[in-house]
């Protein structure tokens, strides 16, 4: 009887800890929706870079990456807000900015990443990728969505609106229960 009780108490403790882990990420994501400025987000990547992003050239497979550029001030403004958002969490977490691509409803791109290099969705190096269904839900409904697809990972996806009230971006507040200090150091 006693061992069983200990196991149950331990499980309840772990669940409570899990809840706290997810709740902190969700709290930060809620703040991100308020604090991140959608108009600034729209101005980050230059029109020229967006133009090159989907160009195909068999002789130049780096065309999109080599022509990728951003507006410094808009990038810095949003990045600093995202860093502050991540600091609301009591453990290492990142707040990443994702944006849809006009004319390509089936695609999405990460626009800003942060210092722990944590994301549940970014395949390393991609300029854009297939739309993440949960992000599509956030963009369409304006609701936050919690994703725990990869074992040990939690990402809370929060909508970002511009001054017109349109949802223009998604913030992914992400962390990993067991951090790998060496992953993505490359």
């Amino acid at each position: 009887m006693k061992p069983m009780l200990i196991v149950l108490l331990a499980a309840a403790g772990a669940l409570a800890e899990d809840d706290r882990f997810t709740r902190e990420l969700d709290d930060a994501a809620r703040v991100a929706s308020v604090m991140v400025d959608g108009d600034f987000c729209r101005n980050i990547v230059t029109a020229r870079a967006m133009d090159y992003m989907f160009r195909d050239d068999l002789r130049d497979r780096f065309l999109g990456g080599d022509n990728y550029e951003v507006n410094y001030d808009a990038f810095d403004s949003v990045k600093k807000t995202l860093i502050r958002v991540s600091r609301l969490v009591s453990f290492p977490a990142d707040a990443n900015l994702w944006m849809p691509i006009p004319g390509h409803p089936d695609k999405i791109r990460v626009v800003i990443r942060n210092a722990n290099e944590l994301s549940q969705f970014w395949p390393w190096g991609a300029l854009f990728q297939n739309m993440i269904p949960e992000m599509k839900t956030v963009l369409e409904t304006g609701r936050r969505v919690t994703v725990a697809q990869k074992p040990g990972w939690v990402s809370v996806l929060a909508p970002v609106s511009d001054s017109l009230g349109d949802i223009v971006a998604v913030v992914e507040v992400a962390s990993q229960r067991q951090l790998d200090p060496h992953e993505n150091v490359k």
Binding site: R113, G125, D180, V185
Partner: protein
Amino acid sequence: MRRALLLWCAAACAPAAELQVQPEYLRTAPDGEIVAADRAASGHARPSALAGARLGYVSLQVIAKLSAPGEYSLEFTPPSGLEVDIFREWYHALERQKTYYPDALAPVRMPYRSRLPEPDNRIADQKAQAFWVDVWIPGNAHPGDYPLQFRLASAEGSAQVTVPIRVLAATVPDRDVVAIDHNSYGSSWIGDLFERERRRIGKDFYRSDAFFQLIHAYHRIFYEHRGVFHQLGYGHAGKVGPEFAPALEGSGRGKHVANWDLFDRHYGPLFDGTAFARTRRGARPVPFAYLPINPEWPASYLWWGQPGYEAEFVNVVSEMDRHFRDKNWTSTRLELFFNHKKRYMGFPWDGDEVRFPGDNRYFREYRRLLRKAVPADSPVKFVFRADVSWDMERQSKDLAGVVNMWICGGGILSWYPEVARAMTQRGDTVWFYSGPPGVTQVSAKITEFPLQAWLWGIDGYVHWLTVSAGPDPWFHFDGGGTALVYSGERFGIEEPIPSIRLKIQRNAVQDLALLDGMKSRRPAAELRAEAARRFNGSRPQDWWNPRPPLADRPPSEWSNGAIDQATAQTRKMLAKTGAGSWENVHEFVMQLAEEMK
């Protein structure tokens, strides 16, 4: 002479069990035949003896052949006064090409007993096993001929061969005339390559002595092969591996170093040279190392452009300067280097390969911060390194006095000889970069890079990635375009093991050191011209490309296709490199060395 030639071919004439000797540049397949890439050089005239200078290596290959499966043993009689290392050549299965090439070298002890086919290499019709032989000539060896004898024993019979090694009076200079760098990123790959060791130690592997010993072993293997090893310790968004930087605490003016433990265990033996204590080249601090500094370390990007950024940067970098002085770590050039690219979405500017000139202002700001953090009279050698390509010409002028170590894209640098000249004339360090040639290219391909650096009059060359041999280099090999060493774990060795390409490169760098040392006897231009001619019939000026019209347009308008077209001339010239190209240069160097008696 006649006797020596007889000895060379004695094995080939034997009826069953055979011992063949091949020079370093002719690699053989599991059937004993020369691999396709090197075959055209098989008719190259062979010297009567393998000549080498003191404090240098002479290399050759010995091939044991049997006509049918069976056991064999190989033993040798080392020449007194010389040191001999023997390695079994691993035949890598190349899936795409459906063939085998030897490259990884597993150290073996003599006598070596095994069977053909070699059980672990799993090649059903293997009839031959090649061994790489390194002969080290100590500084106190007496000039003269030394016989190196090998004996093969098997049920098919026995064979023996004697190779004369000619020790010259000349000595290979200790310092290299070109630095050949071998780059890598992070250290998670060490746990992947040494999985057994990682499992044995468990969750603390990355803080264990075994882990740091492995890092030091990588530095050692490249050092012993007359090279440099770099390990970048941070990611594109600023994540720093814990062993690459001191642990920090605090924020703003209160930010400071909290703990040096992992950093010191990592770098201490490298910066004081003790990691190299038991090497033939002797203990010496590493010449170069990356610092962990990036836009997110030690200052948080949250404060970029605000007083807090400068406070955090200056506090911590000043502490680093003091720590290095206290430890007397003043020999290594410590590189402030930005590797990030904006396409990886961490920061809004390119630290690596700037293309858009607006990014150059960040370099000026970091130089200002570095000057503020480190007193001008500090004995610690902080350098500002930039890896440049697109905007190289403009950066070389705009960032003169800001950046003093330039790692240049080789293709683009090839049409800017005046840029290389200006950088070197003001005392900056200049290297160029590319990647290791795969194993299916001619064996001497790897010697092009040190020769090119020397012909260009610059300081070195970087192989951008040299430790990543792919998920299964043994039976599903990707060709080795990102690897020059392998994990020794498969052979029970908890250290990296070398490759044939690394050995060939080392011998070329050694020859260049010797050749460059002859500038006091012959004009440098004459030495360069003769080396280029012997290598592939070229002239030193053929190693540069004409300035293309695109160089006068903004780099943002260039494409990689246009750059390829603008480097066609040197590519065409280098297409003439054959397996025996370096051997021709080596013969020239040995000829000059013999004249130095």
